[in-house]
Amino acid sequence: MCTVCGCGAGEVKIEGGRSHRHDHAHDHEHDHHHHDHSHGPAHDHHDYGKGPAHAHAPGLSQARMIEIETDILAKNNEYAAANRAELARRGVLALNLVSSPGSGKTTLLVRTIEMMREEVPVAVIEGDQRTANDAERIRATGAPAIQVNTGKGCHLDGHMVGHALEGLKIRDGVLFIENVGNLVCPAGFDLGEAHKVVILSVTEGEDKPLKYPDMFHASDLMLLTKTDLLPHLDFDVERCMENARRINPKIRILRVSARTGEGMEDWLAWIRISREMNRIGRK
């Protein structure tokens, strides 16, 4: 069983156009893990030979205390690093979109893709606990999308994204990773993305950044969505932005509405600049 995502439990499904199950896991360059689904958590499928888990001091057996000093998420971080290398090799900017359920991520993505498709290749990895509905909505725009169902899991991890990436041919483009709707767990799991983008809709509370500080701290950009609804709400935009900046003074904030198009040009400009920044120094 995969100790990062639990995929060996048969709960994780990765699907989409050229999708695959784990039997395809070995045909890429960085053959970094070995799947064996025949038993429970008692096996290892990651070569830690060069990894931090070997950073112990051999022969330190006094009192049978073993010093480990290992980051618990080290394994996920290795998968994320492999994804980052692969994305760099392909010249792809990856954005990890995080939010609560129902913030309008998919609607925003559909609109974004419609506006961007002519200028740059776009692909999407969709994370949801169940169903392929979101991937179908993306595919309706003509962009390739792969749905990852996390089953019991509450977040995407580096390992799932690595597999999904194998099924996407995108090069020199933008990959949107729509994470599972959850403002808690995805904050801790690096997927190899260039930036986390947190999406908050104005139908939520302006104190969400304070309630879920980890996610706002981990994100570089905040999109305040559904701004077309503001006239009908008591939502205090200034207060919300102030709260976000209290958690993360460096965060950039854009107000957008996929419905009216407000702020969409700024969002696209941010993506273009991020692509440039991501490319500089890579070649």
Binding site: M1, T3, V4, C5, G6, G40, P41, A42, H43, D44, H46, Y48, A53, H54, H56, P58, S61, A63, R64, M65, I66, E67, I68, E69, T70, D71, I72, L73, A74, K75, N76, K152, G153, C154, H155, D157, V184, C185, A187, G188, F189, L210, P213, D214, H217, N243, R246, I247, P249
Partner: protein, 113 residues
Amino acid sequence: MHEMSICESIVSVIEQQAVAQSFSRVKRVRLEIGPLAGVELEALRFSYDVVTKGGIAEGSALEVIEMPVTAWCMPCAKPVTVRERYDPCPDCGSYQVQITGGDELRIRDMEVD
């Protein structure tokens, strides 16, 4: 819910170490966890018991060393201790405070047979 996958990662590290350092039983595991690591300790303990069942760490004690949140106050130009990310400097009240530690999520050591 991600405490479950964190526990699975812990068990995976233990099993790596069991092979590398030749032991067959784990009696105690000590973790270093900061308040900003996004881990709920009660959920972690519950998951640990579930995930270690049937393995070499079954029945082992899980000890958590809670790390402090450390920060650097820019106006004061000195290290300070805060409780949350959005806390002001306890001395000068400024929000120009950079968090420098408190998101640790590590296995420090373990006692084995």
